[in-house]
Subunit: 451 residues, 2 copies
């Protein structure tokens, strides 16, 4: 009999962990339990299905349980939740009443949408955006709706606002912070995104948390401060919190950030000691930041995949570590791409870091080459060491590689001067300016110290 | 009176040098001499004007001499060549007969198209692709032409082939090497590009240098080996050699690569000693490679701009150095982008390096997100140190940032394992797969040592 490896959770972290475990130990018995019906899909795709950019929900599912069984000898049991966990006996109990033993356990239970404790949050007409099931409910409801309030102006909130506006709804976004994409994006870039959304007809109420949700048997309005906003639907895009049910059940150490603290091997701690045989991956854990000392959350699909790989390898008896992160992110809001990595100026201030900011505006292609779009780049460096610690960009195309480029520079501790001196740009008129806007922003950054 | 700074050459290197000199020393007298009529344009744009993607030649000129005079207090004298240079007296003589004194001289005389010494190379109907004047001649000639032979299957040759095919000509590309984009691109990626070009109706004769060019008073055919290819036009895209007229005149040291050897401050040598007061930038010099020990050529527009900045700063009394390069390049051939950086496998073999290659195929967006294109990535690492030393990509979009990302990794000595462990990808369905194809190629690379 092979080693029994059990994975709880079927998102990017869980399914990647299962596959990595299988690859590491061809003889292991790998089983995935998930309370969901659909597995192996990207929740990030939900707004784009609702917008009509992606055909349907079926198309975002990469593989079904049969695929995993047939191609990878991984058993996936859907609609099966884990109700209890005993890490002494190494067993877990399922919603079916069965008890399952494991040799290695991978907890990839992800996050839950944080719904603020406001009156009326449980009314029909209030939706979350987390699972395909959530997406399907919204898709059904939006057919008869005329107006919607999106609570939360993070990237999911904005993508949802654009999607719902695109199909003709009256959309108001209510955000507690005084800007869109708070924390990870600075006010200046955020303002560009907001203005773009406003040009699509989306309304914003910023600096105001949602108060109560009103309605008799169904949502009819939302209070934002003293303003009452009539609506048929409310989308809760109010952030994701780690799903700590199982970790708490066995007393795993929780970081003050509200997720499970893990070692570089993605193992949890219990009363200060590393727990053998348990590994975690995805939205449920904290990790180390490569820009500010200490723990951070990196609740990104791309992070989940990288953590899943490490957890799977280790659970199967291999060895891999998960390093400090810079967490590059990207979003497409209508025709606008926004991306960032590392520290925003706002977060840097929160951490007490004194920063210098460089900026440049330009185009994604040579000025005269048709189809290029504006590109705004902002680079953030530590004032003392000159090290680049953050970047943000907004533009119409080609941001993904550029933000990864900056991620590499930040990961490798590049200073503003080093970037200007040594970091080259590939050029041809259809794909870049001869000096890329990123390089221009780095030159602007260096000048800030000379000024 | 301010310092007299003279720049010879008005391309990317020369004009950037003039601007950097002006910025460094606001009091200097900065003068540019150029034999060209048009200044401050990108020769890389010429094929795209001929293809009709860019409106006209006027639109690729960034600025005219009046702009430089008015905005930057830089005097540009067009159609004025430098006929002799005396570095003892610090004077140069112009084609007008004038003698001009300088305190600092910047030579940015660029390159000349290498025309192989074949019979008939001087016949009417044989064109180069270097200046706007060349481009205008081709534009005029192609109206009446029906068939063309492009000599050279480098990126310029292929871009020209696509442009001329696009307007309906019968196009044959003749290349001495047995593949397209030789040296910088490996056979496998080259084959994809060639197949794509063939799908457009472009014909190839590879592994065959052009023999003679035949015609009475005008081109009528080209001999490629024993094959006679009838044609009305020949495009010489046979590579660029440094323009060494002035450097040779004063005995500057020439590298065996056929360009001027310079220090990190971009100063030349004469009998082993650094020459004061002279700086060089652009296609006329060699520089250091960051992947293989020793000198290399980096005849790219983006390199010229970066060197121009260093030469201009130093010529004006500032201090800057030009570091070792990885020379990322990109080309758009029809709807296909091709990019590379660092060593190709072929070049690595030439340098005696034993390499390991990783490959991956995927898409530029999530599988289910419309508009994505195939993306092929190849990574090359040194077998002993595991350091990544090269990358090549082919795809339909979004290659520029991705190749810059790999450039950063190569510049910072990242190993295959480090890339897999630490190098993050920003993800959203419209802009990338959750694990980018670049990351997949790195995983494939790491597996090669385990196999």
């Amino acid at each position: 009999m092979g080693k029994k490896i059990v994975v709880v959770g079927s998102g990017a972290a869980g399914m990647t962990a299962a596959s990595a475990a299988r690859e590491t130990d061809p003889k292991a018995e790998v089983t995935v339990f998930t309370e969901e019906e659909h597995i192996a899909y990207s929740p990030c795709a939900i707004p784009f299905v609702l917008e009509g950019k992606i055909t349907d929900f079926a198309s975002i599912v990469m593989h079904d349980p049969e695929f995993y069984q047939r191609e990878r000898n991984i058993t996936v049991r859907t609609k099966t939740s884990v109700t209890s966990l005993n890490d002494q006996d190494k067993t877990l109990t399922l919603s079916t009443g069965e008890t399952v033993a494991y040799d290695s356990l991978i907890l990839a239970t992800g996050g839950k949408v944080f719904v603020p404790p406001v009156e009326g949050a449980d009314l029909p007409g209030v939706y979350k955006v987390r699972t395909i099931a959530d997406g399907m409910e919204i898709q059904k409801a939006m057919k008869d709706a005329r107006s919607v309030v999106v609570a939360g102006a993070g990237v999911i909130g904005l993508e949802m606002a654009v999607a719902l506006r695109h199909v003709g709804l009256d959309v108001t976004v209510v955000e507690m912070f005084p800007q869109v994409i708070p924390r990870i994006c600075d006010q200046d870039i955020a303002q560009m995104v907001q203005s773009y959304c406003e040009s699509l007809g989306i309304k914003f109420v910023l600096g105001t948390p949602i108060g109560s949700i009103k309605g008799e048997g169904k949502v009819s309005s939302v209070m934002a401060g003293l303003t009452e906003i009539p609506c048929d639907m409310v989308i809760m895009a109010t952030g994701v919190r780690a799903n700590l049910d199982l970790p708490r059940m066995i007393g795993l150490e929780i970081s003050p950030l509200g997720a499970v603290r893990v070692s570089a091997t993605l193992q949890p701690y219990k009363r200060g000691r590393l727990v053998p045989s348990i590994y975690l991956a995805g939205d449920v854990i904290t990790c180390e930041s490569a820009v500010a000392p200490g723990p951070t959350m990196s609740q990104l699909g791309s992070t989940a995949v990288r953590q899943g790989r490490v957890a799977g390898i280790n659970a199967a008896g291999g060895y891999a570590t998960f390093p400090a992160v810079v967490s590059p992110w990207i979003s497409k809001v209508g025709d606008m791409q926004i991306a960032g990595v590392g520290m925003s100026s706002g977060l840097a201030a929160y951490y007490g870091l004194d920063v210098v900011v460089g900026r440049a505006s330009g185009l994604t292609r040579a000025r005269y080459y048709p189809g290029g779009t504006r590109l705004e780049v902002k680079l953030i460096a530590d004032r003392e060491s000159h090290r680049i610690i953050g970047a943000q960009m907004a533009g119409g195309e080609e941001l993904n590689g550029r933000i990864n480029w900056m991620s590499a520079a930040i990961l490798r501790n590049v200073t503003a001067e080093e970037f200007v001196t040594a970091f080259e740009n590939a050029y041809c008129p259809p794909t870049s300016m001869v000096k890329d806007v990123v390089n221009m922003a780095a030159e602007d950054l260096v000048k800030r110290w000379m000024a």
